[in-house]
């Protein structure tokens, strides 16, 4: 929270510091839109905030984010150097100290039909990153067979803790655990979500033996890492494009274990998708972990083996 406060203009900082401690603790997003009241999201709820830091559901009582504040926020976010954020503006979000993310919207500038950047920034979504250490404990026993790490696909609908789980798996493998000694981990972090890099340095704890290729397209990045960093495990988030599939396939046959994630509700659904379906049919993955929100974010719904038979937890623990 301290890191978030540091990037905000004094006025907003004062309002937020007047919020009840319980709200601050569960704060997930601060949404700012020019000439609209500030909105905060905490837990599963959202609310406006009055200038004195009270929660309100009345639009008119909310503290309004003025054009002047926009300029101040942009100045603070960019450290008065918008030119240094060209790449970030192209992608639509800025990663700040602590791995938090600020999503931005405004007027898009095109060059040769491609997004060159965003000018006149008007909407900001400050997403507070929270690390959940230890969530991988529940699935770690399934990831090994006779001491070798298995190729794994994490399947989950959005917002079910897929990225958090991947990060924790990376950390656990990198540090070493009761299931295996520590290994070299390579992360291709196309959207800077897994490691939350700032100037190339991971802001999240992804372990001491982890190399991160930040903001690199997955397919290219996986090959680069295999060639340059000789990882034991490659971890990538959200594979989906055809070239990603080829890269996963290559990596697996290069003797590197791959742990990746994909959007979907179940293995059956994922198997319908062109690229992933091919990987599933060819038995690229030996484990499928399906997440849901059934019992809160990050519920492990089911674990399947190579031929899509569900594994009972006890059985898996014993067999490893």
């Amino acid at each position: 929270m301290k890191e978030i406060m540091a990037i905000l203009p004094a006025t907003i900082r004062n309002i937020l510091s007047a919020l009840p401690a319980k709200v601050v603790e569960h704060l997930e997003e601060i949404r700012l839109r020019q000439n609209q009241p500030m909105e905060i999201r905490y837990g599963q709820q959202s609310s406006y905030v009055t200038p004195t830091g009270q929660l309100t559901s009345n639009v008119r009582q909310g503290w309004v984010f003025t054009a002047e504040q926009v300029v101040k926020l942009v100045n603070q976010l960019s450290q008065h150097s918008l030119y240094a954020l060209e790449e970030e503006l192209k992608r639509g979000y800025i990663t700040v100290v602590g791995g938090h993310r600020v999503g931005i919207a405004g007027k898009v500038v095109l060059e040769h039909g491609e997004v060159k950047g965003i000018r006149d920034l008007t909407s900001f979504n400050i997403r507070i990153a929270r690390e959940k250490k230890g969530v991988a404990q529940a699935v770690m026993p399934f990831l090994f067979e006779n001491g070798t790490l298995l190729n794994t696909l994490v399947i989950s609908p959005p917002q079910c803790g897929k990225t958090t789980l991947l990060r924790d798996i990376a950390r656990t493998i990198s540090y070493g655990s009761e299931w295996s000694s520590s290994r070299k981990v390579g992360i291709v972090d196309e959207r800077s979500e897994l490691a939350g890099c700032l100037q190339g340095v991971p802001q999240r704890d992804v372990g001491p033996r982890t190399d991160v290729l930040d903001a690199c397209p997955k397919a290219v990045g996986m090959m680069m890492l295999i060639r340059s960093m000789s990882p034991d495990v490659l971890i990538v988030d959200e594979v989906g494009r055809p070239e990603d599939g080829d890269a996963v396939w290559e990596a697996i046959h290069a003797g590197v274990a791959v742990i990746c994630s994909a959007h979907g509700a179940d293995v059956g659904e994922v198997a319908q998708r062109p690229m992933l379906g091919k990987l599933v049919r060819h038995g690229a993955f030996s484990r499928y972990i399906v997440l849901s929100r059934a019992r809160g974010v990050g519920t492990v719904q089911a674990v399947y083996d190579k031929s899509l038979n569900p594994l009972a937890k006890e059985q898996a623990v014993w067999s490893s």
Partner: protein, 172 residues
């Protein structure tokens, strides 16, 4: 005897006044040149290094002559400590505080002020354009300052001494 000492003192102080004025004409081109250099370094930092403004100011400020360098260091400090809300404000405040210590005039100040308005608030290409524009302006001023130096530097030096001499002669 007393008269003689008085005469010498008048002569000395008049020459000092002349020397002071002439040193202004001598220093201005020198400082203008380091300001030019500073802006060119700033361009490299911004366009190729993508260095955040405060850090770019410090880097530049340390590498050029202290009289001009102080200006950038001061602006960087103002930005860091959030005493200034924008690059424009930082540069303006720094100039307000430090300008009297330099030999630079109002025209140079205007160039920097208008540069401050855009510094850091646009993409690289735009920054480069504005920095180059400022450099071109300053080059023009440098030419002018050199011409003035040729014309006035020696003149004020001798004028001071001769003026003192005139007063002394009139007194005797």
């Amino acid at each position: 005897m007393v008269k003689l000492i008085g005469a010498l003192m008048i002569l000395f102080s008049a020459s000092m006044v002349g020397w002071q004025i002439s040193s202004y004409y001598a220093n201005r081109p020198v400082q203008l040149r380091s300001l030019l250099l500073a802006l060119q370094m700033l361009e490299t930092e911004i366009v190729y290094g993508l260095t955040p403004l405060a850090r770019a100011f410090v880097k530049v400020g340390r590498r050029i002559s202290p009289v001009i360098g102080k200006l950038f260091l001061l602006a960087a400090e103002l930005l860091r400590e959030e005493q200034a809300q924008s690059a424009e404000e930082a540069l303006r405040l720094a100039m307000e505080r430090h300008w009297p210590q330099t030999a630079l005039g109002k025209q140079e100040k205007d160039v920097l002020t208008s540069l401050g308005l855009v510094l850091g608030s646009s993409d690289r290409e735009d920054q480069q354009k504005h920095l180059r524009l400022a450099v071109t302006h300053l080059r023009g001023l440098l030419e002018e300052a050199r011409a003035e130096q040729m014309k006035y530097e020696k003149m004020y030096k001798s004028l001071g001494f001769l003026g003192g001499l005139l007063i002394v002669i009139l007194m005797f």
